[in-house]
Symmetry: C2
């Protein structure tokens, strides 16, 4: 017999007095000689459902001894809840014990508050906690909303390659991928490893971004996006960095910077609305237990107009702010988090899209503006976090692209295929990148991105 999801039962999808079977894991049990109250959880929503098991059940003695995380199948009658909180509970007619917990006293997920560090060490069991369960459902909701947003707006999802042999910018921070014997790799006469004998016939790495690849599809299908894992071999042990993280990178043809900025604003509002509509149960938990105000912050963002501001104007505002910053402000600097947060939180009091940055602090592929000093780049700054999205219009003029590559010491021949897009029916186009874990951390208020991805990868960290 098939069983009911607890989310459906609590949402009132079944009529009162119906006989139902539910299956899940015990959160808590309280018992007295007459009754046991079982809170059963199946992960389908934040709340467990309360089950009342009467002492006349044949296996009542075993039921009364159940502990957290024992697995059960319960059949019973759906009744109105007498207690406060929930509208429904189950009056059990049968409680089948499926799996017990070996030595409950040493069970690592015993029902008490655990530190996030402790939970990371038990990443295989932490989805059983309120915190990680809620993160998982919100993360799923956001991912589904992202796919849905792009699908509804005519974008094609493109699986850009994970393994790349392109000589890319930032190669120093890349992971090498190889099947060569690590102790005795084949060598060339000049003392270098002979990667022609490696699996791919050349040195290969894990991708740091799908952008250059996805531009090739953009220049044929107009609207495309990636949603896949990317990698940084940076030795950063911060709460905002992972060695392996998921990135969303849309790319739009026949688009200028304003179009790219509007897409970023629309997409964020769409996914925030989705999570407010679909996962209020989990959001209320985050608001109560993780970061006060996350719900209000999301609601405000969906209703705010994202203010557009030029980098040059932002520098003026910061200089005139009278504010003391750790890093001094002058035109040409890369803004740091304190500057970004001042602009979004203090000056504007809402989200800001900063535009037209100095070319020297931005990547070679960003489109040079007519002033010759700035490029058509944009960052979306959100209150409470600072930069959440970075994007740009791409340089679509071959001669200027080549000049920029020479300026930053890149060899245009290594990018022949990227250059071809500018030789054959070039079009203005642009896009942005959204670090998915940072989005999940922002929505949930969780401080460390290691707690919003199932099995975090970071320096000295690759367990499970």
């Amino acid at each position: 017999m098939s069983h009911a999801a607890i989310s459906d039962v609590l949402a009132g999808k079944y009529p009162l007095k119906e006989t139902l079977t539910i299956k899940g894991w015990v959160r808590t049990v309280r018992s007295n000689p007459n009754f046991a109250f079982i809170n059963l959880h199946d992960g389908s929503c934040f709340d467990p459902i309360q089950v009342i098991a009467d002492s006349n059940l044949a296996n009542y003695a075993e039921i009364a001894k159940l502990t957290t995380s024992c697995s059960l199948a319960i059949t019973g009658t759906l009744v109105e809840s007498a207690g406060k909180g929930q509208s429904f509970e189950i009056q059990a007619t049968e409680v089948e014990i499926i799996g017990l917990v070996e030595d409950p006293d040493t069970y690592p997920m015993a029902p008490k508050r655990h530190s996030v560090e402790y939970l990371r060490e038990h990443a295989h069991l932490r989805p059983r906690t309120n915190l990680i369960g809620a993160v998982t459902r919100v993360r799923n909701c956001l991912a589904q909303a992202i796919h849905r947003y792009f699908h509804e707006n005519g974008f094609q999802w493109i699986a850009t390659p994970i393994i790349t042999a392109s000589d890319c910018e930032g190669a120093g921070e890349m992971f090498r991928v190889s099947t060569l014997d690590a102790v005795n790799p084949p060598m060339k006469d000049n003392g270098e490893v002979d990667y022609s004998e490696d699996f791919f016939g050349k040195e290969a790495f894990l991708t740091v971004s799908g952008q250059l690849n996805v531009e090739t599809y953009c220049c044929a299908l107009s609207k495309v996006y990636t949603f896949g894992p990317t990698f940084r071999a940076e030795n950063s042990n911060t709460s905002r960095h992972l060695a392996e993280f998921w990135m969303v990178e849309p790319e739009i043809a026949f688009a200028d910077l304003a179009t790219v900025a509007s897409c970023a604003e629309d997409m964020l509002k769409y996914v925030f609305k989705a999570v407010l509509a679909e996962r209020m149960d989990d959001l209320e938990f985050f608001d109560l237990r993780v970061q006060k105000g996350v719900v209000e912050r999301l609601k405000t963002l969906t209703e705010s107009e994202f203010v557009r501001m030029d980098y040059t104007d932002a520098i003026d505002i910061l200089l005139k702010s009278g504010q003391k910053f750790e890093f001094p402000v002058e035109w040409g600097i890369d803004l740091s988090s304190e500057h970004e947060r001042y602009l979004a939180e203090k000056h504007v009091g809402g989200p800001v899209i900063l535009q037209n940055y100095p070319k020297d602090i931005k990547a070679f592929y960003m489109r040079l503006n007519d002033d010759g000093k700035t490029v058509a780049a944009m960052d979306v700054l959100a209150p409470g976090i600072g930069e959440i999205i970075g994007g740009s219009q791409r340089e679509d003029r071959l001669d200027i692209l080549d000049a920029r590559m020479h300026e930053v010491d890149l060899n245009p021949e290594d990018y022949y295929w990227y250059r071809d897009l500018r030789r054959y029916g070039s079009v203005p186009h642009g896009g942005f990148g959204l670090g998915f874990e940072r989005l999940v951390a922002y929505v949930t208020g969780v401080q460390n991105v290691r707690d919003v991805i199932p099995f975090p990868r970071a320096p000295k960290t690759a367990s499970f």
Copy 2:
């Protein structure tokens, strides 16, 4: 001014006589002294739209010289099409030339039939062809439908790790991920590389499957799935193998093999229906130019009942078939493609779900049946391809799991976290794996999986 997607124009979403702007790339141009007929394509659907440019346009001389892949912005009036085929065309009032094609005579994607091998060498330009454009839209449609199916059915998407340091089965076929100096890695006294100095503090690899990891989330959230890249360092140069491919792996708690099989059948039918409903334009192209009958095959599958058959019965059928097989049939063999296709195509004449395979040809984690000889494994065999999905109920009994690990020489300690799932509230559960590229190849009729992923990775192949 914003522009219209050609898919919307051809679908009749704009009224006749409306003034529209469309943007895209030239497929073909025919011109005479009075008119030019431009077929403009923007990737939003299979068909380009026909545009008529009158010779009284100011830049008519340039228009008449346009070649394939030049990029244009065209403004004009939507009119009924005089020709056959399409209902609508555009009477241009302005043709803005955005980007020309440098030396059209050497343009690699000149409008003629190219071999798939040639297209792979130009993977950055091949999305401009009918073939790869259609593959991309169908691939996107299938991916969206997969996410939608699981979302609608209460599954949570889980991003299982790409980099893994687990000592897994099949490590011989894994790619090593490292940041160590390849020429002079730090060495231990025993002559082995000292991976404690590597980025992750131990030897790390690219994942071959997210299944074991996703089981940890299944045993907390009940219904979960992965959809991400997986890797095999197999030196296989076949039309069915890639070194990097995307896999879909649902995992269901409180499920037996029958539930897993039903989920596989439901999911396949759901995504086949989606592609029939949404991408008939591309499917008709595949039917006409790639493989006759693909549309009929999909339609038939959505209406078929997938026949359940025991492995043992299948062996009997093959033995009694009178058929001459290259690989001889006896109980205990791993079926090869010729056997699977005989069963699906000749014997049943439709899809078959083969169940309960000999334990010795299946993985250690599959649930041992009461006969002690077979495991609760299943493969979905589809006409025209053979195995398209493989899955199983998982062994949820710790003692039997341990015994199986010893039998196949795995060290249970390496799997302590996997074993913990059986120690703490174990539940019957199971799932399956679907190779996404094989699904796309099956739906489109494209013979080689290298042509259904944007940038294929295979031995000696990692360009772009």
